[in-house]
Every structure is written in structure tokens, then in C-alpha cells.
């Protein structure tokens, strides 16, 4: 089986970000993954260059009387790898289905 370009949890996090999630807590609610997975995943993705982060304009935050948040955005490289990873996952799914179809339970005669 070919290696996936990205771990499935990282794929999920990337997908959540492309779908509009902007920060850690958003990603948690969007994916349902535990926080212990999401935050390291974000850090890892950023380290690999698939995600960029920037700080919210503090004036906006100040106006709303809350601390400024850290927003994550998918980079071009991130979009590319996401496409590749999703394709790979789909291929894997297709292969698995093919195997399942080929699978015939053996009849055991007594």
C-alpha cells in the first residue's frame, strides 16, 4: 500500500481550515478531534509550511473586549498536499472496496 502524503488527522485539520475554521477551537468543533491532537497538528502543519498563522488585529479584539486570537490559514503548499492526500485516501478507499467485493466467505460444511 502506498504511503499517505499526510496523516489522516492532519488531513482532517487541513480540511477544517479550508472549510472556514480559523483557529484551534474552531478546528476542534469542526472535526471533533481532541485538543491534544489538534494543537500539535496545527504546530506541525505550520512547521512543515502547509499552514500560516497571523495574529488578529488587536484593535478589533480590543473593541470587542477580548484577547486577540491566532488565526491559521492554509498555504498554497497546504492546498496542494491536501488535494494529493485526499486523492490518496480515496484511492485507498477504492482499493479497500475492491478487496471487499472480491472477498467471498468460505462455506464450512459440517
Amino acid at each position: 500500500m502506498s504511503r499517505l502524503p499526510l496523516r489522516p488527522t492532519l488531513v482532517a485539520v487541513l480540511q477544517a481550515l479550508t472549510a472556514g475554521a480559523r483557529h484551534g477551537f474552531d478546528v476542534i468543533s469542526a472535526t471533533g478531534l481532541p485538543s491534544g491532537t489538534v494543537y500539535p497538528a496545527l504546530a506541525r502543519l505550520e512547521h512543515e509550511g502547509f499552514v500560516e498563522s497571523r495574529w488578529e488585529d488587536h484593535k478589533v479584539a480590543q473593541k470587542e473586549k477580548r484577547p486577540p486570537r491566532r488565526y491559521y490559514e492554509v498555504t498554497r503548499a497546504g492546498e496542494k498536499i491536501l488535494t494529493a492526500a485526499v486523492a490518496a485516501l480515496k484511492e485507498r478507499e477504492r482499493a479497500a472496496r475492491a478487496r471487499l467485493r472480491a472477498f467471498r466467505p468460505v462455506k464450512v460444511s459440517r
Binding site: G24, F25, P34, S35, Y39, P40, A43, R66, P67, P68
Partner: protein, 882 residues
Amino acid sequence: MKRMAVTRVARLIVNAASVVVPRWRRSEWRREWDAELWYAPRGAVRLSAGAVPHALELLQQHWSLDMVTQDIGYGFRMLRRSPGFTIVAALTLAIGIGATAAVFSIVHAVLWRELPYRAAANLVQLWETNPDRHWTEAECAPANFADWTRENQSFEDMAAYWGAARDAWIMNYALTGAGEPERLKGMTVTANFFSLLGVQPALGRAFVADEDWRGKDGVVVISDGLWRRRFGADPALVGRAISLDGRPRLVVGVLPADFRFNNAPLDVWVPMGWTPESIANTRRPHNLRVIARLKPGVTSAQAQGDLDRIASDLERRYPQTNTHMGVGVGPLREWIVGPSRTALQVFLAAVALVLIVACANVANLMLARGAARARELAIRSALGASSTRLVRQMLTESVLLASIGGALGLLIASAAIAAVVAYGPASMPRLHEIRLDRAALAFTMAITIVTGIIFGVVPARQSRVREVTASLRGSARDGGVAGGGRLRHALVVAELALSLALLVGATLLARSFVKLNQVDLGFVPEQTASVQLILPRATYNTPQRQSEFLDRLLERLRAIPGVRAAGAAQRALLDGSLWSSDFTIEHRAPDEYGIEVRHNELTPGYIDAIGGRILRGRDFNASDRAGAPLTVLVNDALVRRYFRNEDPIGQRLNFDRPGGTSPWRTIVGVVKAYREEGVDFDPRPTIYESLAVNTDLMFTIVLRSGGGGAPPPVEKIALAPTIRGIIHELDPNLPVAAVTPLTARVDEALAPHRFSTTLMALFAIAGVVLATVGLYGVLSYLAAQRAHEIGVRIALGATGGDVVRLVTRQAARLTAVGMIGGLALALASGRLMSGLLFGVNAYDPATYAVVLALLSAVAMCAVLAPVRRALRVSPLVALRAE
């Protein structure tokens, strides 16, 4: 309110995790988490749990691989730039790590690893005890063994092997038939011996239960070695008969090549050949060694209770033989390796000291080098390297250095292990099992990394506190580290202390070894030749035939030119314990008798041949034979103990308690006691019978060469072929063992002591050399550092004497402190050492004095060069350096 508390817990978690985050990302990280928590007040605690892996992820990124490789590459370059330092440090570590790995392998293989049998943890050894006879680990009588087997509830199985004494369980067999007759070593075992150990023959089968009994016992299991050596690995051998001691035995199985019991390389195993009566009634003599397998879940203590119950029952039923006869049980492994435990523990402690000394030494070198590198580190730090990064760099270098040392050490260790396996004392148990196994490799790797960190962490910390500006200014004096000086002194003091302890241990062992060599054996091993013979029972089936053969043989041997005396004894010198019995002297009080008196049987001339002395009365002569009045010789140890103010000659004794049926025997001579059971313990009261009366199939011949003047030693005049020739003429079917001088037996008996002494001496030498180098290094460094001060002093009129005093005072202080520490350590380890010593007190003041003097002398040597250098300091140069 509750919400506040929740947030507080979450903050606490984030705060704790933030420690792990690399400093340059910490504040940003904190802000991110502050915001995240603010938005998720309800699930804050659960959310905050993510902070920990998040922080770890960042740390991992920070310590990325390329940074480590960068460090390693840099480290390699640094080590290559100062090859002298690298070589000395790596070799020092190689010695320390190599020796430690070797000793660990030995200790692990011998003391710690399970025996190579199935579920070996459940295997135990059983023995009999009797306080009346000072029996602590005695052999078991066959009938008692049968009762234990029948009545116990704790053991899956119980097997026995024949053993006359703790160290005399190896039996001799003569293999005759095709080819040269050969002497084989073997064991006589019960049929279930192999199944109890869980050993399956590689070929054929083990014994079956029936084969314990006489008539069905014409079978033998042989070793892989014998099968290959003698029978060309012929698989068809199984099912054929071979002739052992003149009796045909069917080969039923060939054991796997790696099977050993204890350390002995044996050839054959034969069954007991009991009769139902013999095993039912024989409660004396005690001649079986018993091993057993505990039922799963039964502890040694429970088994002991079970056996105690059986023993007291037997005591009640057979008061004549079993009074106070108890049972002991202990792990089989302990039985086998227990006697070597102290020695191995001492080695392990000693080698650990060597390793610590090596570490201290390298740490010292690193410190000196750290001082030299101060500028380099200062520049790096000025260019922005964080102090953690520098510490990590230093640690990487030291672990790198340790790894080089560890790799070399592994070579040293494997060479050392090969040497120990090849030349180690044969009496060391499980010797053939010693190898560099996975555990030893893992251990070596672990100590390599740990040593790398230990000797690296100190200089690394030192690199941290350095003042950047001072170092950059670059004066030699400032480059040194104020605190480093004290630290280096401490390291040298520790090295001196440890090597003093090592030296005390080695000197004690050496003195003990000298004492052993000087001990009065009571016989003269030089100018002798000895050979053991076993007559096949089939040919020599009557006592008369046995003694006739012996008479003819001795007569022929005495006729060899240059042979001064010849004789034979049933049990050879230094070949383990003699058999023992009670004895009673005639006309003594009815309850007075001796116990545990030793026995041996001799021919006339034997005492002469071994170089012993008849103190009173006469030796055996031709008249002391079967049918004549019974006579015995006794040794003076027996006379001192039992005939205080009487003349023993002419008195009679028998080998039983008062009222026994043993016949009376007249004492005709007193022999000066000689050490026939071991070099390292005093001879015990012994009675000698004539070998012509109490004949045996097995005996050892001893010849002494030379008369007066300067006779050629027997081993040089090629007596061996002559002796073999004579024996062959008398009986071509008799296998002849190697002809050896008695000196070889003494050597063999001393081998374990020689081994311990050599090993300890090596450790001590390594320790002292390393400590001396360390001391020398520190003093040279000190002298160089103070060159300026010395120059000023000389300029101001200080004399050479003043300079010498200046430098030596420091050396003397360090040495003195080190010695005090070393003395304390040596005294503390005295108890452990005393188990290894013979004739020397572990707290022997003379030894301590010698060691102190020696170490002082060595320390003085280390001072000489630095002092000379200091004396040569020219005041001009010193002042110009300012």
C-alpha cells in the same frame, strides 16, 4: 465562581506546559492559549489538556534533527582538531567502559542469568544438615531420598546424582573397545535427571524410569563432544553398545552440544542401577546430590516446611541413623554460583571504581580544555548562541567522545571476555556461558551515554557561567575558571580516594595469594609425577586382583631409574573432600567418640612419594594386607585433637560409634598432616587405611624422582612415556589419564585465587595510573596558571625552595584529602573483601601503610614535572606576559 476555578486550573496546566516551550516562542504561545481559553470557558480544562502535547511538539521542532547533526559534525571537528586530547580521553574511557562491560558480562552470565534449563527458576537443590556433625550442605542417603520423593507435596519431581562431596560429583569411566582406551568423565544420575531439567537429547532419548534399576541399567547417554570426537558423529551409534569400565552399555541418546551441568565438560551419563532393597534401607552413607523442581506457586519456604515435616518423621522412625538429620533447600542457581558470589561482587565494585576514576579523569581533561576553549565559546555566545545551545554542544561532544570510548571499550570487553573464557579458572561456574550478549550490549550503551553525560555535564555547566567579556579579552589567567579550579581539585581528590581503595583491595589479595603460596602444604609437589587409574570392574572383579595389579605396577614403577619412591592413594591430592565417618577409640568413656573424621587409603611408599613425613611409628608395609591384623595410620591433627597426652601408637580404633560392629584397627604410625583437601584450609583429623586391605578400582599413583644431590626433576626426564609404557604392558586395555606433576594440581587449586588477584591488580593499576595522570594534569595546569605569580615572586627574591613549596603544598593537600577519603572507603569495603582473603586481615595495617606509601610516592612523581617547570619560570617572561 466555579467558572473562575475552572479557568484557574486550565491556566495552571498551560503555565506548567509553557516551561517546555522553547523560550523564543514562549510568549507567543502563551498569548495563543490565553485567547483559546478565553473563548472556551466551559471546556477550558479539557481544552487546556491539549497544551501539553502542543508544547512538546514545539520542543521537538526546536530540537530538530538538523540541529543535532550540526552539533555532532561540529563535535567531530573539535575532537579532530585536538587529537592528543581525543586519543587520551577516548582511551581512558575505553578502558573504563571496556572493563565494566566485561565484568558486567561475567556477573550477568554467572550470577544473574537463569540457568539454561526449562523454567529454571523453579529448580532447587536439596541437601541434608546435621548440627551434630557440622553438616551444613551434606549429601543425602539413598533411602532418605526415596522417602523425600514419596512423601513430599511441594515438588513436581526430584532427581539425584551421585556425589561424594560438594565438588566430587564427577565420576570417571574407562571407555574401551575400538581404539585407544580413554578415560571419560561423567555423572551417575537417576533416570528422571534430564526430564527434570527439561533437556531433550538431540538424538535418541533420555533414560526411562525403569532404567534406574539394576539389570535394566545397561544404558548410557553421551555428550555431543564424545559423539563427534570418538564416534565421528555417527547417527547409527544410538542403539549400539559401548564398553564403559568393561561393561557394555547401550547408547540411548546424544545430548545437545550446549548442554552442561554446572561448568563441567562431561562425556557420559549412566543410571543409578539401584536395587529396591538398596534404596529402601541405605540411610548411610550419604552419597547423593538431589535436585528438584518446585510445583508452580510453591515457594522455597513452603517446600522447606514440607521437607522439615518429612525429616522429623524420619528422625522418629530411624533414630539410629536420622537423629538431628535435617533438610535444606535452596535455588539450584545459588547452589552452583554461590561460591563465586563474593569474588564477582568485589570485581563489580572494583570495576565501577575504575569507571568512576576514568570519568573523573576525562571530566578533568574536559575542564582543562574548556578553559582553553573559553574564547571560542565566548565568540559563539557573542554571535548569538544561547547558553542552552552551548551546553547542548558540550554535552554532544562528551557523549560523542564517550561513544568513541564505548566502541573501543566494546572491543576491549570482547577480548577480555574471550580471555576469561579461555583462561579463567575451571572452577568458576558457568564459565562457558559468558559472552557479550544483548543485555551486556545494552548495558554498555547505557553506561556509555551516562558516562558521557556525567563527565560532560560539569564542564558544560562551567561553560555557561563564563563572563563573555573577560574571555574575549583573552588573558591566560582570566581564561581559567575560578570555580573550575575547585571542581578540578575535587575530581582529583575523588580519583585518588577511589584508586587508594582499589590499591588496598589489590594489595590485600596479592598478600593473601603470597600467603597461599607460602603455606606449608605438608607435602612437596616438586619432582613428582602423578597419574590416575581406573580399573575396569569386569576384569578386576575381586579385591585380590585389584591389589595384585597395584603391587606389580608399583614394583615396576619403583624400578625406573631415577625414581626414589612410588605409591598410590585412593583419593588424589587436592581432588575435593575425602569421605568421612564417626570413629571410636578403644577403652574410652562409652559416650566418647569422634565425628567427621576423614578417610583415605594408601599404599606403602605413598607418604614418601608425596614428600610427607611419618612422625612416629612406621609406614604401611607388605604385611599390611588382607587377612593380616588391621592397621591404620593417623595424622597429627587427629592425635592433637583426640590423644592429648597419650601415645597413639598401638592404640586401637574403629569406624563407628561406641557399640558399633566395625572391627578394631591398630594405629601403627602418625603422619604429619598435609593439605590434601584444599590449599586454603587446614588439614582435618584423618585416618589412613592400607589400600591393599580396602582396595578400590580407582586410585592415583604418585612417583618421586631423585635421590640426594641435585636430581633432575621428574617432569624433565620424560617419565610420562615410561609410565604409560609400563601400564600398557601390564594391561593394554587400561586407559591412562595425563601424567602430571603434583605442582600442576597445586597450580590448579590456586587458579581462582590467581585469577582474582590478577584481575584486581589490573583494576588497581588502571585506577592508579589514571589518578596519577589526573593529579599531574591538575598540578601542571596550576603551575602554568600561576607562572606569572611565581615569576613575580622570584623577581621579588623568592628562592627555589619557596617555589617548590608553593607547588607541592597544593599537591600534598590534594593527596592528603584523597587519601583520607580512600582510607574510609577501603575500610568500609573490608567486610566484603574479607570473604576473599586467606591469612590476611582485611584491615591489615601493614597493607594500608604500604599502599599509602606507594600512593604518596606516585603522587610525588606527578608533582615533579610541574615543579621543574615552575622553577624554570623566568621572572622576565612572567612580567612581560602582563
